[in-house]
C-alpha cells in the first residue's frame, strides 16, 4: 500500500520512499534482535515503556499507593525513578528511530488513519479501547509482540510461542467486528 499517498503532506512532487522488501526488513529486524540478545542479554521490548510511564504518572499523584501496590510496587526502588529502566530507553529509541526513518522517507502523515467510510471519532475510540486492552494484556502476559512474540519466539520459549498463537487467534476471532474501520 505504499502507493496510497492520498495525503502526501510534504509536497506533491515528493513521493514517500518505498517500503523495504518485507523479508529484507525482517532479516534486519532479526539482526537488531540478535544484537539485543548478545549485547543487553535480553530481547526487544516495547510495552514496558507505556507501563513504566503509567506507573510513573500514577506515582506522581499517588506515591504511597504505587509503592504499596502489588504489581508496580515491585518496580519501586528508593532513590531511583521508575523511568530509569532500560526498556524505557529502548521505547524512546523506537520513537526516535521511527521518526528518523519517517522523515527521511518523507512519510510524516499527520492525521487519523482510517477507511474513508469510517469516522475519525469512532476510529479514535477503537484505538483508545484497543490501547487499553493491549496495555492491560501486555502486563498480564509479561510482554507484547516485541518482548513475547518476537524475542521469546526467537528463544523458542514455549510460553512465547503460545502467546503468539493466541494473539492471532484472538485477532482473527474478532476481526470481523472491526472490519468497517478500514472500508474506503
Amino acid at each position: 500500500m505504499n502507493d496510497k499517498t492520498k495525503s502526501s503532506p510534504t509536497g506533491n512532487d515528493d513521493q514517500p520512499a518505498a517500503y523495504w522488501n518485507p523479508y529484507a526488513a525482517g532479516v534486519l529486524l532479526g539482526a537488531t534482535l540478535l544484537a539485543s540478545f548478545l549485547i543487553l542479554g535480553a530481547g526487544l521490548g516495547a510495552s514496558a515503556g507505556p507501563a513504566r510511564l503509567g506507573a510513573f504518572l500514577e506515582q506522581c499523584v499517588l506515591p504511597d499507593h504505587v509503592a504499596q501496590s502489588d504489581y508496580f510496587g515491585a518496580w519501586v526502588e528508593p532513590g531511583k525513578s521508575l523511568l530509569s529502566y532500560y526498556l524505557v530507553f529502548m521505547f524512546g529509541g523506537v520513537f526516535v528511530g521511527g521518526l528518523l526513518s519517517a522523515v527521511l522517507a518523507r512519510r510524516i502523515q499527520p492525521g487519523v488513519e482510517r477507511g474513508k467510510a469510517f469516522g475519525a471519532g469512532p476510529r479514535l475510540t477503537l484505538a483508545l479501547l484497543g490501547g487499553v486492552l493491549v496495555g492491560f494484556a501486555s502486563r498480564m502476559a509479561n510482554g507484547c509482540t516485541s518482548g513475547q512474540a518476537l524475542s521469546g519466539g526467537a528463544m523458542l520459549l514455549n510460553g512465547s510461542l503460545v502467546f503468539m498463537v493466541c494473539v492471532f487467534a484472538g485477532g482473527y476471532a474478532a476481526a470481523w467486528f472491526f472490519r468497517r474501520q478500514w472500508h474506503d
Binding site: 505504499n2 540478545f37 529509541g93 509479561n142 487467534a169
Partner: protein, 684 residues
C-alpha cells in the same frame, strides 16, 4: 565468551541504557521502513489483504533464532547470559487472546504504536495513551485477578509460590525444533504470497528473489545447525575439563560436588557431611542416596540451621534446578557451605551406579571395582520404606559412628560440650601435650600421645605421616574403636610462647585419624589451658587402657598428594597452592633446606595468621573473608603445604572442617621434600 549486561547484572547501568536506546533506534527505523507506521497495513493481516506483518515478523524471529542458536552452539555466549521470560501458560494464553483483540481493534501494538505516533498518526498517539491507562488498570486489578485465579501466584519473576521457569522448544532437541520452526516459516511465507495474489487488494510487497534467497538461506542454516558438534559437557566430563571451562564454572560460582566425590565421601562416613534430598516423600521412599535426609524445600533453613557454615551440606533432586534455587535461597540466609550434586540424582545414577556391563566407555579395573563398591553401598540392602528417618548405618565398621546422625561431633568442641561426656565410653580423649605436662595433670580419662609418634621416615622423606597400618596399630593400642568419637586436646596458654603442643599438634593427630578413615574427631577449642582455666576437673591418674582391634583401611586416603601431583598443577588457574610457612621462609630469606623460596605460583598464608589468642582460631567470619580473597570458590582445588606437613594440618582442618572447602589436599612432603629434588622448580 560474550558477557551481556544482563549476565553481568548491569542492565540498570547507564551504559546499558545507552545501548538499549541505540538498539531501540535501529528497531524503530526498521519497523518504519517495513511499513509498520501504518495501522491499516498492520491490520491487513487480519483481513488477508496485506501479509507484511507475518512476513517481517516471522523472518525476524527465524533470523534471530538461528543466530542465537549458532551463538549458543559455537560457545560465543552461554544461555545463562540471556534473560528468558518465564513460562506461565495461563497468563500467556489469556494475555495473548486479549492482546489479539486489542490489536485488531486499534490496528497497533506498542512498538508499532510508537513508530505510528512518530509518523504523526493521531490514532497511534491515542492508542499509546490507552496502553498507559491499561497498564495502570492492570496494576489496580492485579490482586483481584490473582484472587480470581486468573493469574498464577508466580507471575513474572516467580518470586512467589511455585517458581516459574522458562521452558524451551516443547521438550524437543533445540536443533530439531529450530528446523521444524524454520520450515513452518518458509511455508508460511509462500502461503502469504499466494494469499496476497488471490486477494485483489493484495500486498504490493512481493517477495521475489529476496524471498527465494531468504528461504534457501534459512533452511541451509537450520540444517547446518545439526553439523555443529554439541559442546563437550566440560563440567561433567570426568576425563579432564579444560582450564577455561573450570575457570568459567568457578567464576559463575557454581559450587558443585561431583557424584564420584559425593559417593566416596558418603561411603567413608564423613561426619560433617549432610546430604539432603529435596524431592517428594514418595520419590524419597522409592529411592534415595544412602545417608541422605529428606527435607521439604520450605523447611530447609530451619532443618539445616545447626549445620550452617559447619561442614558441608549437599542438596540434590532429580536434576539441578530446584536445588540451585534452594541453594540461592540459603545463601541469602548466610549459608556458605551449601553444594549441589552435579546433575542431581540422575547424574549420580548414571555416573556412579550404572553397572559396569552397561557402560559404553571401557573402565580400568580400579574404576570398575569402584563402581561395584558404590553399587554395593548405595543399592545393596533394602531401602527403608516410607519412614524417612535417620539414614541406615553404613556397613563398614569404621563408618558406623558417622551414622549416629543425632550425635554428630562438631569439628571444634567446647569444654562445655566435653564435660558431660567424660564418662561416655564412646568418647575418647587424646592429650597431645608434652609428657611431663600430661603427667602433672590432664582431663580425666585422657590418653597421652606424642604427636611426633604419628610421623616418621617414609620412602626416605623425613617427618611423613605414617602409613595407615601403623597408625591403626597406634589406635588399637590406645583402645580407640572405629566407632568412638575422639576429642584431641592440645596445650599452650596464651602467654606460653614455647614451640610445640599448639593447635597444629592436635590437627596433626587428627590427620592420622583421617588417614585410617576415622572421621569422628574434633579438637577441644582452646585446649587444655581453657579447660583448666574454667576450673573443670583434672587428674594425675593414668587411665586404664584395654587394647582393641582397629581395622586397616583397604584404600589409601584421598587427601594426601605427592610432589608430582603438585608439580602438575603449577600454573593451573583452577588450583590454589597454599604455602602456610612463615613469610620469611616463603620469600626465601630464611631456609632450613638446600634451596630457599617457594613453589612457583604458591600463595602465602602463614598458619599463625589464623590464630588468635591461646592457640585458638580467630573468629571464623574473619577467616572466611581472608580465605575468600585467596581462593576463588569453595570447590576450588586447594593444596596446603608447609615445611614438613605439620603446620599445614592446621590450615587443612580450618579449610575443610570449619570453612567448608570441598577439595582440600595436603602435600605432606612439603618444602623439605621439594627443596631436595633439584628437578622441581623454585620461585623466590
Amino acid at each position: 565468551m560474550i558477557e551481556t549486561y544482563f549476565g553481568a547484572d548491569q542492565l540498570g547501568s547507564p551504559r546499558a541504557m545507552v545501548a538499549a536506546l541505540l538498539i531501540g533506534l535501529a528497531f524503530g527505523f526498521v519497523l518504519e521502513r517495513a511499513g509498520f507506521g501504518s495501522s491499516r497495513k498492520l491490520a491487513g493481516i487480519f483481513y488477508f489483504k496485506d501479509m507484511t506483518v507475518l512476513k517481517v515478523m516471522f523472518t525476524a524471529v527465524i533470523t534471530a533464532m538461528l543466530g542465537l542458536s549458532y551463538a549458543f552452539a559455537l560457545g560465543w555466549v552461554s544461555p545463562d547470559q540471556v534473560y528468558a521470560l518465564p513460562t506461565v501458560y495461563r497468563a500467556q494464553v489469556l494475555g495473548g487472546l486479549l492482546f489479539g483483540l486489542g490489536f485488531v481493534m486499534s490496528g497497533w501494538c506498542p512498538g508499532t504504536g510508537a513508530v505510528g505516533a512518530a509518523s504523526g498518526k493521531l490514532d497511534a498517539m491515542v492508542f499509546l495513551f490507552g496502553a498507559v491507562i491499561g497498564s495502570v488498570g492492570f496494576n489496580e486489578l492485579f490482586g483481584a485477578l490473582r484472587a480470581m485465579g486468573l493469574l498464577p501466584a508466580a507471575h513474572e519473576s516467580g518470586v512467589v509460590g511455585e517458581p516459574a521457569e522458562p521452558q524451551v522448544a516443547f521438550g524437543l532437541p533445540r536443533t530439531l525444533f529450530a528446523l521444524i520452526f524454520t520450515l513452518i516459516a518458509v511455508g508460511a511465507f509462500h502461503a502469504a504470497e499466494w494469499i496476497e495474489r488471490r486477494t485483489a487488494g493484495g500486498g504490493s510487497q512481493r517477495g521475489g528473489p529476496v524471498l527465494k534467497a531468504v528461504s534457501i538461506a534459512m533452511v541451509v542454516f537450520a540444517v547446518a545447525l545439526f553439523l555443529i558438534p554439541a559442546p563437550a559437557p566440560s563440567a561433567a566430563g570426568a576425563a579432564g575439563p579444560s582450564l577455561g571451562d573450570l575457570l568459567q564454572s568457578i567464576e559463575s560460582a557454581e559450587d558443585h560436588l561431583e557424584p564420584e566425590e559425593l559417593a566416596d565421601r558418603l561411603m567413608s562416613g564423613e561426619p560433617d557431611l549432610v546430604v539432603v534430598d529435596v524431592r517428594s516423600p514418595a520419590e524419597y521412599a522409592a529411592f534415595h542416596l544412602r545417608g541422605a535426609i529428606r527435607v521439604a524445600l520450605p523447611d530447609l533453613p530451619a532443618a539445616l540451621e545447626s549445620h550452617k557454615n559447619r561442614g558441608v551440606i549437599v542438596l540434590y533432586s532429580n536434576g539441578m534446578t530446584h536445588p540451585a534455587q534452594a541453594r540461592d535461597a540459603l545463601a541469602l540466609l548466610g549459608f556458605r557451605n551449601v553444594y549441589l550434586l552435579t546433575d542431581g540424582l540422575d547424574g549420580f545414577v548414571e555416573r556412579c551406579l550404572k553397572p559396569v556391563s552397561l557402560r559404553n566407555e571401557p573402565l580400568s579395573p580400579q574404576q570398575a571395582a569402584k563402581v561395584r563398591a558404590w553399587r554395593a553401598f548405595f543399592l545393596g540392602g533394602s531401602q527403608p520404606g516410607p519412614a524417612p528417618s535417620p539414614p541406615p548405618p553404613p556397613p563398614e565398621a569404621a563408618a558406623t559412628a558417622a551414622a549416629k546422625a543425632a550425635d554428630r561431633i562438631p569439628a571444634l568442641v567446647d569444654p562445655q560440650w566435653l564435660a558431660p561426656r567424660l564418662n561416655d565410653p564412646n568418647v575418647k580423649i587424646i592429650d597431645v601435650r608434652a609428657q611431663p605436662k600430661y603427667n602433672a595433670s590432664h582431663i580425666p580419662g585422657a590418653i597421652s600421645l606424642n604427636p611426633e609418634s604419628v610421623r616418621g621416615v617414609v620412602d626416605g622423606v623425613p617427618s611423613m605421616l605414617l602409613p595407615a597400618d601403623m597408625l591403626a596399630r597406634h589406635l588399637s593400642n590406645m583402645g580407640i574403636r572405629p566407632t568412638d568419637s575422639v576429642v584431641i586436646v592440645h596445650g599452650n596458654s596464651p602467654d606460653d610462647a614455647e614451640l610445640g603442643n599448639g593447635l597444629r599438634d592436635a590437627t596433626l593427630v587428627g590427620m592420622a585419624l583421617e588417614r585410617v578413615g576415622h572421621r569422628t574427631w574434633s579438637v577441644l577449642d582452646g585446649g587444655f589451658w581453657r579447660w583448666a582455666s574454667e576450673g573443670r576437673p583434672v587428674t594425675a591418674e593414668l587411665p586404664k587402657i584395654q587394647p582393641v582391634p582397629y581395622p586397616v583401611p583397604s584404600q589409601p586416603d584421598a587427601f594426601t598428594v605427592d610432589a608430582r601431583f603438585v608439580a602438575q598443577r603449577i600454573g593451573d588457574p583452577s588450583t590454589v597452592i597454599l604455602d602456610v610457612r612463615p613469610a620469611e621462609y616463603y620469600r626465601g630469606e630464611k631456609s632450613d633446606e638446600a634451596r630457599a623460596g617457594h613453589i612457583p605460583g604458591a600463595v602465602n598464608r602463614p598458619f599463625k595468621q589464623d590464630l588468635g589468642q591461646g592457640e585458638q582460631f580467630k573468629p571464623l567470619d574473619e577467616l572466611e573473608k581472608a580465605y575468600q580473597a585467596l581462593i576463588p570458590s569453595k570447590s576450588t582445588l586447594v593444596i596446603v603445604h608447609c615445611r614438613t606437613g605439620h603446620q599445614a594440618t592446621q590450615t587443612f582442618f580450618l579449610l575443610r572442617r570449619l570453612l567448608g572447602y570441598a577439595q582440600v589436599k595436603w602435600y605432606d612432603g612439603g618444602w623439605t621434600q621439594w627443596a631436595a629434588q633439584s628437578d622441581l622448580p623454585v620461585a623466590k
